[in-house]
Symmetry: C2
Subunit: 189 residues, 2 copies
Amino acid sequence: MGPKNKFTKEQIIDAAFEIAQTEGINNITMRKIAERMGSSVAPIYVNFQHIGELMESLKERILSIGQQLLSEESSGNPFYDMGKASLRFAIEYSVLFRDLVMSDNSYMQNYDEEVAPVLIEEMKKDPELEGFTEDELKTILLKMRIFQIGLSIMAAKGSLPQNYEIQDLMDILSSAADDVIQSARLNKK
Amino acid sequence: MGPKNKFTKEQIIDAAFEIAQTEGINNITMRKIAERMGSSVAPIYVNFQHIGELMESLKERILSIGQQLLSEESSGNPFYDMGKASLRFAIEYSVLFRDLVMSDNSYMQNYDEEVAPVLIEEMKKDPELEGFTEDELKTILLKMRIFQIGLSIMAAKGSLPQNYEIQDLMDILSSAADDVIQSARLNKK
DNA sequence: TATGTTACATAACATTTGTTATACAATATA
DNA sequence: TATATTGTATAACAAATGTTATGTAACATA
């Protein structure tokens, strides 16, 4: 019924994502998106009612990238996989990662209700963690989560030695996990 | 030579600080500060050349609060003191803390050059840490720092169990430190 | 007391940003 | 081919914000 669309939702989100990745989510503006697409702001308003709707789509995009990163890890150890995906996100999208950490509605909001119980069940199957009570497993999980978040933040902020590769960070994460488990085992006896 | 000042730099920074604490640093505006003081924006421009100068003073204020919190701790154990001060900051000024974590010019920028060497020297004096090489001490310190940052961030975000008091958090921090040291000792032998 | 200085209130200005009105061109359909 | 529809560019509008111009009143000094 009209002319063909020159710009799609995808292209708009792509442009917004690039801005978010380089300047931060708070610095996204309609005009910047348009400029990056080589268009006016009109196509944006054809595809989105208002900027809030666009930001909502952007959040979904960011979320899906996190899930994509997680799906690319499949060592069999869910801690390792989650840790590596988190670290990769923190390194490859450091500006975005910091935005997420700062925002209230983080992508980790539903951790306690949804993620933690699954991980606890996984831990129960792990031979290395045999003999621990559920409370002990929860303490171990909490410590590992704290460590993983701290490490990811420091990676995102560049507060770690420059020459560290992601494998070095994973080694630290694994080492800290071993520390926690080893001590839990010792203090149990 | 003119009328008495009704508003001081202190009052202006106070007002800006309250806004930063509740709405975040990015939401500070000249008019909001004036409104909170019951004045116009004129007194602000009498005391500060431009908003950048005001923000600079605000940063100093925030820094001094952090130092104040640190000075209030004097257990003799610098890790404990820094950990507790950091946790108190994260809890009592959670919005500000998140701003600091996100910003590039964090108050922890000069950690590697100034803070870490002092802590390493302290560690060398600690009987509990006797027998470790400098590299081993650095690894222990790094792990503890990672854990402390992770814990502070989770406290600031309210991602920890609601009923946790600051003493509970300090217990976790101490426990994790023990884990790291104990394992380092074991893996050394 | 008279005068110059200056802190403050008010209002205006410039810029940025989200949004919308208008005009035009492309495209499907009759 | 003629017409209605709709995507796009342009420009304008409204609100927010940093900043400044202007007037007024208070205060020190002569």
